[in-house]
């Protein structure tokens, strides 16, 4: 079981990020941070398997995830800024304008 410690770590980290999405209904910024935590857990999985199997591909994919995380943070925070300017709140419950 010892070489698979990183799997337990990353599943715990993913769960923490998942829980963060649930309990922070009033704060979109923390939800974005929880998504960053979940992406980090995916990164830990990739790097751990890369170390376990002696394969470099995991590290290259992890670099790709890093790019995706940066793009997600940039666009998500831009949307958040616009939303705050329009509605003066960052609560999830007030995002219901897309209902038409």
């Amino acid at each position: 079981m010892e070489p698979f410690n990183f799997l337990i770590l990353s599943s715990l980290l993913f769960s923490v990020g998942f829980l963060g999405i649930f309990i922070n209904r009033k704060n979109l910024i923390t939800i974005l941070m929880s998504i960053e935590l979940m992406l980090l857990s995916a990164n830990i999985n990739f790097i751990g398997f890369s170390d376990l199997l002696g394969d470099l591909s995991g590290q290259i994919f992890s670099l790709f995830i890093l790019v995706v995380a940066a793009a997600e943070a940039a666009i998500g925070l831009a949307i958040l800024t616009i939303f705050f300017k329009k509605s003066n709140s960052i609560s999830v419950d007030s995002i219901n304008r897309l209902k038409g």
Binding site: V67, A70, A73, L77, A78, T81
Partner: protein
Amino acid sequence: MNEYIPILIFLIFAFLLSFGAFFFSIFVGKKSSYAEKNSTYECGFEPFDDSRGRFEVKFYLVAILFIIFDLEIIFLFPWAVAFSEIGLFGFLSMMFFLFVLTIGFVYEWMKGALDWS
């Protein structure tokens, strides 16, 4: 892994030194505080509003563009290290990548995202 031992020692010493300076000054330093000394003072006035004022969206745009170009630099590092062995294909691959990002750079220049009028 052994080549990171000096960094670990450096980190431990930096940690100890900064925390030592911080807490040592709290516990050892002589303090004489009274209400007037602890109150906020801003050019003779009471402060008008919260110090955490909002600032402009322009700063935020600069921060986003910094992230994008930061990642571009990250991709340039291994390319520079391995440049002599990846041949023409690696060179052209990186040139296409830079071309795509230059399109974005020209776009932001044209949109005036870098202007501070």
